[in-house]
Protein backbone atom coordinates (compact mmCIF):
# COMPACT_ATOMS: atom_id res chain seq x y z
CA UNK A 1 0.00 0.00 0.00
CA UNK A 2 2.92 2.30 0.77
CA UNK A 3 4.11 1.73 -2.76
CA UNK A 4 1.04 3.46 -4.09
CA UNK A 5 2.25 7.02 -3.44
CA UNK A 6 5.64 6.85 -5.20
CA UNK A 7 4.07 4.78 -7.96
CA UNK A 8 1.42 7.42 -8.53
CA UNK A 9 3.98 10.23 -8.42
CA UNK A 10 6.07 8.35 -10.96
CA UNK A 11 3.08 7.63 -13.18
CA UNK A 12 1.80 11.20 -13.09
CA UNK A 13 5.26 12.58 -13.81
CA UNK A 14 5.81 10.13 -16.66
CA UNK A 15 2.37 10.70 -18.14
CA UNK A 16 2.66 14.45 -17.69
CA UNK A 17 6.03 14.47 -19.41
CA UNK A 18 4.75 12.34 -22.29
CA UNK A 19 1.74 14.53 -22.80
CA UNK A 20 3.67 17.81 -22.67
CA UNK A 21 6.23 16.42 -25.10
CA UNK A 22 3.52 15.79 -27.69
CA UNK A 23 4.18 17.36 -31.04
CA UNK A 24 1.72 20.08 -32.00
CA UNK A 25 0.32 22.98 -30.02
CA UNK A 26 -2.71 22.21 -27.92
CA UNK A 27 -3.96 25.78 -28.12
CA UNK A 28 -4.01 25.68 -31.93
CA UNK A 29 -5.97 22.45 -31.93
CA UNK A 30 -8.38 23.92 -29.38
CA UNK A 31 -9.36 27.14 -31.12
CA UNK A 32 -8.35 26.39 -34.71
CA UNK A 33 -5.70 28.07 -36.82
CA UNK A 34 -7.73 31.14 -37.68
CA UNK A 35 -8.03 32.52 -34.14
CA UNK A 36 -6.40 35.85 -33.41
CA UNK A 37 -3.09 35.83 -31.51
CA UNK A 38 -4.83 37.59 -28.60
CA UNK A 39 -7.45 34.86 -28.21
CA UNK A 40 -4.77 32.20 -28.37
CA UNK A 41 -2.72 34.03 -25.75
CA UNK A 42 -5.63 34.33 -23.35
CA UNK A 43 -6.53 30.65 -23.70
CA UNK A 44 -2.89 29.75 -23.24
CA UNK A 45 -2.92 31.68 -19.99
CA UNK A 46 -6.23 30.19 -18.94
CA UNK A 47 -5.04 26.57 -19.20
CA UNK A 48 -1.58 27.51 -17.91
CA UNK A 49 0.32 26.42 -21.03
CA UNK A 50 2.56 29.53 -20.85
CA UNK A 51 4.21 28.51 -17.58
CA UNK A 52 7.27 26.30 -17.13
CA UNK A 53 6.99 22.52 -17.05
CA UNK A 54 7.86 22.24 -13.36
CA UNK A 55 5.34 24.96 -12.50
CA UNK A 56 2.59 23.20 -14.44
CA UNK A 57 3.39 19.86 -12.85
CA UNK A 58 3.44 21.36 -9.36
CA UNK A 59 0.12 23.03 -10.04
CA UNK A 60 -1.31 19.74 -11.20
CA UNK A 61 -0.10 17.92 -8.08
CA UNK A 62 -1.61 20.63 -5.87
CA UNK A 63 -4.88 20.17 -7.71
CA UNK A 64 -4.66 16.39 -7.28
CA UNK A 65 -4.00 16.63 -3.55
CA UNK A 66 -7.30 18.46 -3.26
CA UNK A 67 -8.95 15.57 -5.10
CA UNK A 68 -9.40 17.61 -8.26
CA UNK A 69 -8.37 16.25 -11.66
CA UNK A 70 -8.93 19.55 -13.47
CA UNK A 71 -11.53 19.99 -16.16
CA UNK A 72 -11.73 18.83 -19.75
CA UNK A 73 -10.40 21.27 -22.36
CA UNK A 74 -13.41 20.63 -24.55
CA UNK A 75 -16.47 20.23 -22.39
CA UNK A 76 -15.09 22.22 -19.42
CA UNK A 77 -16.66 19.61 -17.13
CA UNK A 78 -14.78 18.30 -14.12
CA UNK A 79 -12.76 15.24 -15.13
CA UNK A 80 -13.27 13.63 -11.76
CA UNK A 81 -17.05 13.85 -11.90
CA UNK A 82 -17.02 12.51 -15.48
CA UNK A 83 -14.85 9.60 -14.41
CA UNK A 84 -17.02 9.03 -11.35
CA UNK A 85 -20.06 8.90 -13.62
CA UNK A 86 -18.47 6.43 -16.05
CA UNK A 87 -16.61 4.31 -13.50
CA UNK A 88 -19.61 2.17 -12.46
CA UNK A 89 -20.22 1.32 -16.12
CA UNK A 90 -16.69 0.01 -16.58
CA UNK A 91 -16.89 -1.95 -13.34
CA UNK A 92 -20.21 -3.46 -14.39
CA UNK A 93 -18.65 -4.48 -17.69
CA UNK A 94 -15.54 -5.93 -16.04
CA UNK A 95 -17.55 -7.94 -13.51
CA UNK A 96 -19.93 -9.19 -16.17
CA UNK A 97 -16.90 -10.27 -18.20
CA UNK A 98 -15.51 -12.08 -15.15
CA UNK A 99 -18.85 -13.79 -14.73
CA UNK A 100 -18.34 -15.31 -18.18
CA UNK A 101 -14.60 -15.83 -17.97
CA UNK A 102 -14.05 -17.38 -14.55
CA UNK A 103 -16.43 -20.37 -14.70
CA UNK A 104 -15.79 -21.15 -18.36
CA UNK A 105 -12.02 -20.85 -18.00
CA UNK A 106 -11.86 -23.05 -14.89
CA UNK A 107 -14.23 -25.68 -16.29
CA UNK A 108 -12.36 -25.87 -19.60
CA UNK A 109 -9.05 -26.12 -17.75
CA UNK A 110 -10.32 -28.99 -15.59
CA UNK A 111 -11.70 -30.81 -18.61
CA UNK A 112 -8.36 -30.53 -20.37
CA UNK A 113 -6.39 -31.67 -17.32
CA UNK A 114 -8.57 -34.75 -16.84
CA UNK A 115 -8.50 -35.80 -20.48
CA UNK A 116 -4.76 -35.80 -20.98
CA UNK A 117 -3.72 -36.83 -24.50
CA UNK A 118 -7.30 -37.34 -25.51
CA UNK A 119 -9.45 -35.54 -28.03
CA UNK A 120 -11.07 -33.24 -25.45
CA UNK A 121 -7.67 -31.90 -24.39
CA UNK A 122 -6.79 -31.04 -27.99
CA UNK A 123 -10.13 -29.25 -28.38
CA UNK A 124 -9.63 -27.16 -25.25
CA UNK A 125 -6.06 -26.36 -26.31
CA UNK A 126 -7.20 -25.22 -29.74
CA UNK A 127 -10.03 -23.22 -28.20
CA UNK A 128 -7.84 -21.42 -25.67
CA UNK A 129 -5.14 -20.74 -28.25
CA UNK A 130 -7.75 -19.21 -30.57
CA UNK A 131 -9.03 -17.12 -27.70
CA UNK A 132 -5.56 -15.64 -27.40
CA UNK A 133 -5.08 -15.25 -31.17
CA UNK A 134 -8.28 -13.51 -32.23
CA UNK A 135 -8.00 -9.73 -31.88
CA UNK A 136 -10.62 -8.28 -29.54
CA UNK A 137 -11.71 -5.64 -32.03
CA UNK A 138 -12.43 -8.28 -34.64
CA UNK A 139 -14.28 -10.69 -32.35
CA UNK A 140 -16.29 -7.67 -31.17
CA UNK A 141 -17.37 -6.85 -34.72
CA UNK A 142 -18.07 -10.52 -35.57
CA UNK A 143 -20.18 -10.96 -32.44
CA UNK A 144 -22.02 -7.79 -33.38
CA UNK A 145 -22.75 -9.11 -36.89
CA UNK A 146 -23.89 -12.49 -35.60
CA UNK A 147 -26.01 -11.50 -32.60
CA UNK A 148 -27.46 -8.16 -33.54
CA UNK A 149 -27.58 -8.25 -37.33
CA UNK A 150 -28.33 -11.91 -38.09
CA UNK A 151 -30.05 -13.14 -34.93
CA UNK A 152 -31.34 -9.75 -33.77
CA UNK A 153 -30.89 -10.77 -30.13
CA UNK A 154 -29.10 -7.72 -28.76
CA UNK A 155 -28.84 -4.05 -29.68
CA UNK A 156 -25.56 -3.42 -31.55
CA UNK A 157 -24.29 -0.61 -29.34
CA UNK A 158 -25.11 1.72 -26.49
CA UNK A 159 -25.12 1.83 -22.72
CA UNK A 160 -27.94 0.48 -20.65
CA UNK A 161 -29.44 -2.66 -19.21
CA UNK A 162 -28.37 -6.29 -19.45
CA UNK A 163 -29.23 -6.51 -23.18
CA UNK A 164 -26.54 -3.93 -23.94
CA UNK A 165 -24.10 -5.60 -21.58
CA UNK A 166 -24.06 -9.18 -22.91
CA UNK A 167 -22.01 -8.69 -26.08
CA UNK A 168 -19.21 -6.43 -24.78
CA UNK A 169 -18.86 -8.55 -21.64
CA UNK A 170 -18.64 -11.75 -23.68
CA UNK A 171 -16.05 -10.28 -26.04
CA UNK A 172 -14.01 -8.92 -23.13
CA UNK A 173 -14.09 -12.30 -21.42
CA UNK A 174 -12.64 -14.31 -24.34
CA UNK A 175 -8.90 -13.67 -23.81
CA UNK A 176 -9.31 -13.83 -20.03
CA UNK A 177 -11.12 -17.17 -20.21
CA UNK A 178 -8.43 -18.52 -22.56
CA UNK A 179 -5.60 -17.55 -20.21
CA UNK A 180 -7.47 -18.98 -17.25
CA UNK A 181 -8.15 -22.27 -19.04
CA UNK A 182 -4.46 -22.70 -19.83
CA UNK A 183 -3.27 -21.92 -16.30
CA UNK A 184 -5.94 -24.13 -14.73
CA UNK A 185 -5.00 -27.00 -17.00
CA UNK A 186 -1.29 -26.77 -16.15
CA UNK A 187 -1.91 -26.41 -12.42
CA UNK A 188 -4.47 -29.18 -12.16
CA UNK A 189 -2.43 -31.66 -14.18
CA UNK A 190 0.57 -30.90 -11.96
CA UNK A 191 -1.52 -31.53 -8.85
CA UNK A 192 -2.97 -34.76 -10.24
CA UNK A 193 0.58 -36.13 -10.46
CA UNK A 194 1.33 -35.34 -6.80
CA UNK A 195 1.84 -38.17 -4.30
CA UNK A 196 -0.83 -36.79 -1.94
CA UNK A 197 -3.50 -37.39 -4.57
CA UNK A 198 -2.37 -41.01 -4.77
CA UNK A 199 -2.50 -41.19 -0.97
CA UNK A 200 -5.98 -39.72 -0.89
CA UNK A 201 -7.12 -42.25 -3.46
CA UNK A 202 -5.41 -45.10 -1.64
CA UNK A 203 -7.09 -44.36 1.66
CA UNK A 204 -10.43 -44.54 -0.11
CA UNK A 205 -11.62 -40.94 -0.12
CA UNK A 206 -14.57 -40.30 -2.36
CA UNK A 207 -13.69 -38.79 -5.75
CA UNK A 208 -15.75 -35.76 -4.83
CA UNK A 209 -13.72 -34.95 -1.74
CA UNK A 210 -10.49 -35.59 -3.64
CA UNK A 211 -11.55 -33.12 -6.31
CA UNK A 212 -12.95 -30.55 -3.92
CA UNK A 213 -10.49 -30.63 -1.04
CA UNK A 214 -7.26 -31.81 -2.62
CA UNK A 215 -7.32 -30.60 -6.19
CA UNK A 216 -9.46 -27.47 -6.34
CA UNK A 217 -8.21 -26.03 -3.07
CA UNK A 218 -4.59 -26.31 -4.13
CA UNK A 219 -5.23 -25.10 -7.64
CA UNK A 220 -6.95 -21.95 -6.41
CA UNK A 221 -3.82 -19.89 -5.70
CA UNK A 222 -2.48 -19.71 -9.25
CA UNK A 223 -6.03 -19.35 -10.53
CA UNK A 224 -6.76 -16.39 -8.27
CA UNK A 225 -3.43 -14.82 -9.25
CA UNK A 226 -4.35 -15.04 -12.91
CA UNK A 227 -7.81 -13.64 -12.31
CA UNK A 228 -6.17 -10.69 -10.54
CA UNK A 229 -3.47 -10.20 -13.13
CA UNK A 230 -6.02 -10.44 -15.90
CA UNK A 231 -7.54 -7.28 -14.62
CA UNK A 232 -4.84 -5.53 -16.58
CA UNK A 233 -6.16 -7.21 -19.69
CA UNK A 234 -9.68 -6.07 -18.82
CA UNK A 235 -8.41 -2.49 -18.76
CA UNK A 236 -6.63 -3.08 -22.10
CA UNK A 237 -9.66 -4.70 -23.64
CA UNK A 238 -12.03 -2.11 -22.24
CA UNK A 239 -10.49 0.61 -24.42
CA UNK A 240 -11.31 -1.33 -27.60
CA UNK A 241 -14.51 -3.03 -26.46
CA UNK A 242 -16.13 0.07 -25.01
CA UNK A 243 -15.19 2.10 -28.10
CA UNK A 244 -16.75 -0.45 -30.46
CA UNK A 245 -19.91 -1.15 -28.47
CA UNK A 246 -20.39 2.47 -27.49
CA UNK A 247 -20.34 1.51 -23.81
CA UNK A 248 -20.02 4.72 -21.83
CA UNK A 249 -17.11 3.77 -19.58
CA UNK A 250 -13.55 4.76 -18.74
CA UNK A 251 -12.06 2.91 -21.72
CA UNK A 252 -14.05 4.88 -24.26
CA UNK A 253 -13.43 8.06 -22.28
CA UNK A 254 -9.67 7.41 -22.48
CA UNK A 255 -9.81 6.78 -26.20
CA UNK A 256 -11.80 9.96 -26.82
CA UNK A 257 -9.33 11.90 -24.69
CA UNK A 258 -6.41 10.54 -26.69
CA UNK A 259 -8.02 11.35 -30.03
CA UNK A 260 -8.88 14.92 -28.92
CA UNK A 261 -5.63 15.37 -26.95
CA UNK A 262 -7.62 16.31 -23.88
CA UNK A 263 -4.71 16.22 -21.38
CA UNK A 264 -6.66 16.43 -18.11
CA UNK A 265 -8.89 13.59 -19.29
CA UNK A 266 -5.98 11.35 -20.33
CA UNK A 267 -4.12 12.07 -17.08
CA UNK A 268 -7.21 11.40 -14.99
CA UNK A 269 -7.87 8.10 -16.73
CA UNK A 270 -4.26 6.96 -16.40
CA UNK A 271 -4.25 7.80 -12.68
CA UNK A 272 -7.55 6.06 -12.02
CA UNK A 273 -6.35 3.05 -14.03
CA UNK A 274 -3.16 2.85 -11.98
CA UNK A 275 -4.94 3.12 -8.62
CA UNK A 276 -7.42 0.48 -9.70
CA UNK A 277 -4.63 -1.76 -10.82
CA UNK A 278 -2.67 -1.42 -7.57
CA UNK A 279 -5.81 -2.04 -5.52
CA UNK A 280 -6.65 -5.20 -7.44
CA UNK A 281 -3.14 -6.50 -6.86
CA UNK A 282 -3.53 -5.74 -3.17
CA UNK A 283 -6.82 -7.62 -2.99
CA UNK A 284 -5.22 -10.56 -4.78
CA UNK A 285 -2.44 -10.60 -2.17
CA UNK A 286 -4.98 -10.54 0.64
CA UNK A 287 -6.91 -13.42 -0.92
CA UNK A 288 -3.74 -15.55 -0.88
CA UNK A 289 -3.84 -15.47 2.87
CA UNK A 290 -7.45 -16.58 2.97
CA UNK A 291 -6.77 -19.41 0.54
CA UNK A 292 -3.57 -20.61 2.12
CA UNK A 293 -3.00 -19.56 5.74
CA UNK A 294 0.62 -20.68 5.41
CA UNK A 295 1.27 -17.54 3.35
CA UNK A 296 1.81 -14.77 5.84
CA UNK A 297 1.42 -11.27 4.60
CA UNK A 298 3.98 -9.48 6.72
CA UNK A 299 6.78 -11.80 5.69
CA UNK A 300 8.49 -10.30 2.69
CA UNK A 301 11.60 -12.00 1.45
CA UNK A 302 12.53 -9.45 -1.16
Amino acid sequence: MLLLVPLLLGITLFAFFLLKALPGDIVVSLVGERATPETMESIRREIGADKSFAYQYWGYLKLLSRGDFGSSYYTNRSVLSDIAAKFPNTMTLAFAAMLFAVPSGIILGFIAAYSKDRFAEKCVDALSLSGLSIPVFWSALMVMILFSLKLKLFPPSGTGGPAFLVMPAFVLSIPAAATLARITKITVSDILGMPYIKTARAKGLSPLSIQGVHVLRNALIPIVTIIGLDFGSYLNGAVVTETIFGWDGIGRFTMEGIIKRDYPVIMGCIIVGTVLFVLINLITDLLYHLLDPRIRLHVRDR
Binding site: L18, F137, L141, L235, N236, V239, I270
Partner: protein, 267 residues
Protein backbone atom coordinates in the same frame (compact mmCIF):
# COMPACT_ATOMS: atom_id res chain seq x y z
CA UNK B 1 8.34 -30.94 -33.91
CA UNK B 2 4.78 -32.09 -33.42
CA UNK B 3 2.24 -32.40 -36.22
CA UNK B 4 0.40 -29.24 -35.18
CA UNK B 5 3.68 -27.34 -35.06
CA UNK B 6 4.52 -28.46 -38.59
CA UNK B 7 1.07 -27.51 -39.81
CA UNK B 8 1.44 -24.07 -38.22
CA UNK B 9 4.84 -23.62 -39.85
CA UNK B 10 3.39 -24.61 -43.21
CA UNK B 11 0.58 -22.06 -42.88
CA UNK B 12 3.06 -19.35 -41.88
CA UNK B 13 5.41 -20.13 -44.76
CA UNK B 14 2.54 -19.93 -47.24
CA UNK B 15 1.22 -16.67 -45.74
CA UNK B 16 4.72 -15.16 -45.87
CA UNK B 17 5.43 -16.39 -49.41
CA UNK B 18 2.10 -15.07 -50.63
CA UNK B 19 2.60 -11.64 -49.10
CA UNK B 20 6.21 -11.30 -50.28
CA UNK B 21 5.34 -12.43 -53.80
CA UNK B 22 2.15 -10.33 -53.84
CA UNK B 23 3.42 -7.84 -56.46
CA UNK B 24 4.11 -10.73 -58.86
CA UNK B 25 0.71 -12.36 -58.44
CA UNK B 26 -2.12 -11.62 -60.88
CA UNK B 27 -3.93 -9.33 -58.42
CA UNK B 28 -5.35 -5.85 -58.93
CA UNK B 29 -3.41 -2.90 -57.46
CA UNK B 30 -4.27 -2.89 -53.71
CA UNK B 31 -4.56 0.90 -53.65
CA UNK B 32 -6.45 1.43 -56.91
CA UNK B 33 -9.72 3.18 -56.22
CA UNK B 34 -12.51 1.93 -58.46
CA UNK B 35 -15.62 4.10 -58.26
CA UNK B 36 -17.60 1.62 -60.36
CA UNK B 37 -17.45 -1.11 -57.72
CA UNK B 38 -17.87 0.51 -54.32
CA UNK B 39 -18.56 -1.96 -51.50
CA UNK B 40 -19.37 -4.96 -53.70
CA UNK B 41 -19.90 -8.31 -51.92
CA UNK B 42 -17.60 -11.22 -52.81
CA UNK B 43 -17.95 -12.29 -56.44
CA UNK B 44 -15.93 -14.06 -59.13
CA UNK B 45 -14.06 -10.88 -60.02
CA UNK B 46 -13.41 -9.91 -56.40
CA UNK B 47 -13.36 -13.14 -54.33
CA UNK B 48 -13.25 -11.19 -51.04
CA UNK B 49 -15.39 -8.31 -52.32
CA UNK B 50 -14.38 -4.66 -52.48
CA UNK B 51 -14.18 -2.02 -49.76
CA UNK B 52 -15.93 1.33 -49.49
CA UNK B 53 -13.45 2.88 -51.93
CA UNK B 54 -13.82 0.07 -54.45
CA UNK B 55 -10.43 -1.47 -53.71
CA UNK B 56 -10.05 -5.22 -54.07
CA UNK B 57 -10.00 -6.73 -50.56
CA UNK B 58 -8.26 -9.98 -51.55
CA UNK B 59 -5.37 -8.01 -52.99
CA UNK B 60 -5.18 -5.75 -49.93
CA UNK B 61 -5.23 -8.71 -47.54
CA UNK B 62 -2.44 -10.44 -49.48
CA UNK B 63 -0.36 -7.26 -49.67
CA UNK B 64 -1.09 -6.38 -46.03
CA UNK B 65 0.67 -9.47 -44.71
CA UNK B 66 4.10 -8.15 -45.55
CA UNK B 67 3.79 -5.09 -43.30
CA UNK B 68 2.07 -6.83 -40.40
CA UNK B 69 4.40 -9.83 -40.27
CA UNK B 70 7.48 -7.74 -41.08
CA UNK B 71 6.80 -5.34 -38.21
CA UNK B 72 6.22 -8.23 -35.81
CA UNK B 73 9.45 -9.96 -36.88
CA UNK B 74 11.59 -6.83 -36.54
CA UNK B 75 10.01 -5.99 -33.17
CA UNK B 76 10.51 -9.54 -31.88
CA UNK B 77 14.15 -9.49 -32.95
CA UNK B 78 14.71 -6.08 -31.33
CA UNK B 79 13.00 -7.21 -28.10
CA UNK B 80 15.16 -10.32 -28.08
CA UNK B 81 18.37 -8.31 -28.49
CA UNK B 82 17.51 -5.80 -25.76
CA UNK B 83 16.14 -8.45 -23.40
CA UNK B 84 19.14 -10.66 -24.06
CA UNK B 85 21.60 -7.87 -23.17
CA UNK B 86 19.71 -6.82 -20.04
CA UNK B 87 19.02 -10.39 -18.91
CA UNK B 88 22.64 -11.47 -19.37
CA UNK B 89 24.17 -8.55 -17.47
CA UNK B 90 21.52 -8.48 -14.74
CA UNK B 91 21.69 -12.22 -14.20
CA UNK B 92 25.46 -12.48 -14.28
CA UNK B 93 26.40 -9.48 -12.16
CA UNK B 94 23.33 -9.30 -9.92
CA UNK B 95 23.36 -6.49 -7.36
CA UNK B 96 21.74 -3.12 -7.75
CA UNK B 97 21.51 -3.15 -11.56
CA UNK B 98 19.68 -6.47 -11.35
CA UNK B 99 17.29 -5.17 -8.70
CA UNK B 100 16.46 -1.99 -10.64
CA UNK B 101 16.05 -3.80 -13.93
CA UNK B 102 13.80 -6.50 -12.52
CA UNK B 103 11.65 -3.90 -10.77
CA UNK B 104 11.25 -2.16 -14.13
CA UNK B 105 10.46 -5.47 -15.83
CA UNK B 106 7.86 -6.33 -13.17
CA UNK B 107 6.26 -2.96 -13.60
CA UNK B 108 6.06 -3.08 -17.41
CA UNK B 109 4.85 -6.68 -17.37
CA UNK B 110 2.11 -6.02 -14.87
CA UNK B 111 0.89 -2.68 -16.19
CA UNK B 112 -1.80 -2.81 -18.89
CA UNK B 113 0.46 -2.99 -21.94
CA UNK B 114 -1.92 -1.31 -24.34
CA UNK B 115 -1.90 1.84 -22.20
CA UNK B 116 1.91 1.98 -22.40
CA UNK B 117 1.75 1.34 -26.14
CA UNK B 118 -0.85 4.08 -26.57
CA UNK B 119 1.21 6.53 -24.52
CA UNK B 120 4.31 5.96 -26.68
CA UNK B 121 2.47 5.99 -29.97
CA UNK B 122 0.80 9.27 -29.06
CA UNK B 123 4.24 10.72 -28.33
CA UNK B 124 5.97 9.67 -31.56
CA UNK B 125 4.67 10.46 -35.03
CA UNK B 126 2.54 7.50 -36.16
CA UNK B 127 4.12 5.10 -38.62
CA UNK B 128 5.90 1.81 -39.13
CA UNK B 129 8.95 2.62 -37.01
CA UNK B 130 6.85 3.90 -34.11
CA UNK B 131 4.93 0.63 -34.03
CA UNK B 132 8.20 -1.31 -33.96
CA UNK B 133 9.52 0.85 -31.11
CA UNK B 134 6.27 0.46 -29.16
CA UNK B 135 6.28 -3.32 -29.54
CA UNK B 136 9.95 -3.61 -28.59
CA UNK B 137 9.53 -1.23 -25.62
CA UNK B 138 6.92 -3.53 -24.10
CA UNK B 139 8.29 -6.81 -25.46
CA UNK B 140 11.89 -6.84 -24.20
CA UNK B 141 10.75 -7.38 -20.61
CA UNK B 142 9.72 -11.01 -20.90
CA UNK B 143 12.99 -11.83 -22.67
CA UNK B 144 14.98 -10.08 -19.94
CA UNK B 145 13.13 -11.92 -17.19
CA UNK B 146 13.54 -15.40 -18.68
CA UNK B 147 17.15 -14.96 -19.86
CA UNK B 148 18.06 -13.64 -16.42
CA UNK B 149 16.52 -16.66 -14.76
CA UNK B 150 18.42 -18.96 -17.08
CA UNK B 151 21.71 -17.10 -16.47
CA UNK B 152 21.19 -17.38 -12.71
CA UNK B 153 21.32 -21.17 -12.96
CA UNK B 154 24.07 -21.20 -15.59
CA UNK B 155 26.44 -19.00 -13.63
CA UNK B 156 26.55 -21.50 -10.76
CA UNK B 157 27.52 -24.36 -13.10
CA UNK B 158 30.92 -26.02 -12.72
CA UNK B 159 32.03 -24.98 -16.21
CA UNK B 160 31.66 -21.31 -15.32
CA UNK B 161 33.62 -21.85 -12.15
CA UNK B 162 36.27 -23.64 -14.18
CA UNK B 163 36.43 -20.79 -16.68
CA UNK B 164 36.84 -18.33 -13.83
CA UNK B 165 39.52 -20.53 -12.27
CA UNK B 166 41.65 -20.52 -15.43
CA UNK B 167 41.40 -16.73 -15.47
CA UNK B 168 38.75 -15.91 -18.10
CA UNK B 169 37.52 -12.33 -17.99
CA UNK B 170 33.85 -11.63 -17.18
CA UNK B 171 33.26 -10.56 -20.78
CA UNK B 172 34.70 -13.80 -22.10
CA UNK B 173 32.59 -15.89 -19.71
CA UNK B 174 29.43 -13.98 -20.62
CA UNK B 175 29.88 -13.99 -24.37
CA UNK B 176 31.59 -17.34 -24.99
CA UNK B 177 30.34 -19.52 -22.15
CA UNK B 178 26.92 -18.31 -21.10
CA UNK B 179 25.37 -16.41 -24.02
CA UNK B 180 25.45 -19.32 -26.52
CA UNK B 181 23.48 -21.45 -24.05
CA UNK B 182 20.75 -18.81 -23.89
CA UNK B 183 20.16 -18.71 -27.63
CA UNK B 184 17.76 -21.69 -27.87
CA UNK B 185 15.61 -20.17 -25.11
CA UNK B 186 15.50 -16.82 -26.93
CA UNK B 187 14.47 -18.48 -30.19
CA UNK B 188 11.64 -20.29 -28.44
CA UNK B 189 10.55 -17.05 -26.83
CA UNK B 190 10.60 -15.21 -30.16
CA UNK B 191 8.23 -17.89 -31.46
CA UNK B 192 5.94 -17.41 -28.47
CA UNK B 193 5.92 -13.60 -28.63
CA UNK B 194 5.28 -13.23 -32.38
CA UNK B 195 1.57 -14.03 -32.14
CA UNK B 196 1.09 -11.35 -29.49
CA UNK B 197 3.04 -8.82 -31.53
CA UNK B 198 0.84 -9.45 -34.57
CA UNK B 199 -2.19 -8.76 -32.36
CA UNK B 200 -0.81 -5.60 -30.74
CA UNK B 201 0.26 -4.24 -34.12
CA UNK B 202 -3.23 -4.88 -35.44
CA UNK B 203 -4.83 -3.25 -32.39
CA UNK B 204 -2.66 -0.14 -32.71
CA UNK B 205 -3.51 0.10 -36.42
CA UNK B 206 -7.14 -0.39 -35.53
CA UNK B 207 -6.98 2.52 -33.09
CA UNK B 208 -5.36 4.66 -35.80
CA UNK B 209 -1.99 4.73 -34.02
CA UNK B 210 -0.22 2.32 -36.37
CA UNK B 211 0.97 2.40 -39.96
CA UNK B 212 -0.93 5.16 -41.72
CA UNK B 213 -3.25 4.78 -44.71
CA UNK B 214 -3.31 4.12 -47.62
CA UNK B 215 -0.74 1.40 -46.83
CA UNK B 216 -2.72 -1.83 -46.42
CA UNK B 217 -2.34 -3.36 -42.96
CA UNK B 218 -4.88 -5.81 -41.62
CA UNK B 219 -5.70 -3.81 -38.51
CA UNK B 220 -6.19 -0.57 -40.43
CA UNK B 221 -8.43 -2.36 -42.95
CA UNK B 222 -10.76 -3.54 -40.19
CA UNK B 223 -10.70 -0.06 -38.67
CA UNK B 224 -11.55 1.71 -41.94
CA UNK B 225 -14.48 -0.60 -42.62
CA UNK B 226 -15.83 -0.56 -39.07
CA UNK B 227 -18.56 1.91 -39.92
CA UNK B 228 -19.91 -0.46 -42.58
CA UNK B 229 -19.87 -3.56 -40.44
CA UNK B 230 -23.63 -3.93 -40.25
CA UNK B 231 -24.17 -3.49 -44.00
CA UNK B 232 -21.02 -5.04 -45.52
CA UNK B 233 -19.62 -7.64 -43.16
CA UNK B 234 -17.08 -9.02 -45.69
CA UNK B 235 -15.05 -5.83 -45.41
CA UNK B 236 -14.09 -6.55 -41.82
CA UNK B 237 -14.30 -10.33 -41.96
CA UNK B 238 -11.40 -11.12 -44.29
CA UNK B 239 -8.64 -8.88 -42.89
CA UNK B 240 -9.58 -9.92 -39.33
CA UNK B 241 -9.56 -13.58 -40.32
CA UNK B 242 -6.06 -13.08 -41.76
CA UNK B 243 -4.88 -11.58 -38.45
CA UNK B 244 -6.44 -14.41 -36.45
CA UNK B 245 -5.03 -17.14 -38.68
CA UNK B 246 -1.52 -15.69 -38.61
CA UNK B 247 -1.53 -15.03 -34.86
CA UNK B 248 -2.95 -18.50 -34.22
CA UNK B 249 -0.24 -20.14 -36.32
CA UNK B 250 2.51 -18.17 -34.59
CA UNK B 251 1.09 -19.12 -31.18
CA UNK B 252 0.83 -22.76 -32.22
CA UNK B 253 4.41 -22.72 -33.50
CA UNK B 254 5.64 -21.08 -30.29
CA UNK B 255 3.78 -23.66 -28.23
CA UNK B 256 5.30 -26.61 -30.04
CA UNK B 257 8.79 -25.04 -29.95
CA UNK B 258 8.36 -24.66 -26.20
CA UNK B 259 7.28 -28.28 -25.77
CA UNK B 260 10.27 -29.41 -27.78
CA UNK B 261 12.59 -27.20 -25.72
CA UNK B 262 11.20 -28.42 -22.40
CA UNK B 263 11.58 -32.03 -23.55
CA UNK B 264 15.20 -31.31 -24.51
CA UNK B 265 15.91 -29.69 -21.17
CA UNK B 266 14.63 -32.57 -19.06
CA UNK B 267 15.96 -35.45 -21.11
Amino acid sequence: MSGTGKAALLVLISVLTLSVLAPLLPLPDPNRIDLDSLGKPPSAGHPFGTDNKGRDILSRVVHGGKLSIGIALVAAFASAVIGFAVGLTAGYFGGRFDAVMMALVDFVLSFPSLLIAIAISVLLPPGMYTVMIVLAAVGWTSFARLIRGHVLTLREMPFVEAARAVGCSNARIIFLHIAPLCIPLSLVLIGIKLGGFILTEATLSFLGLGVQPPAPTWGAMVSASRAYVLSSSWMVFFPGAAISLTAFSFNMLGESLKKKYDAMKYS
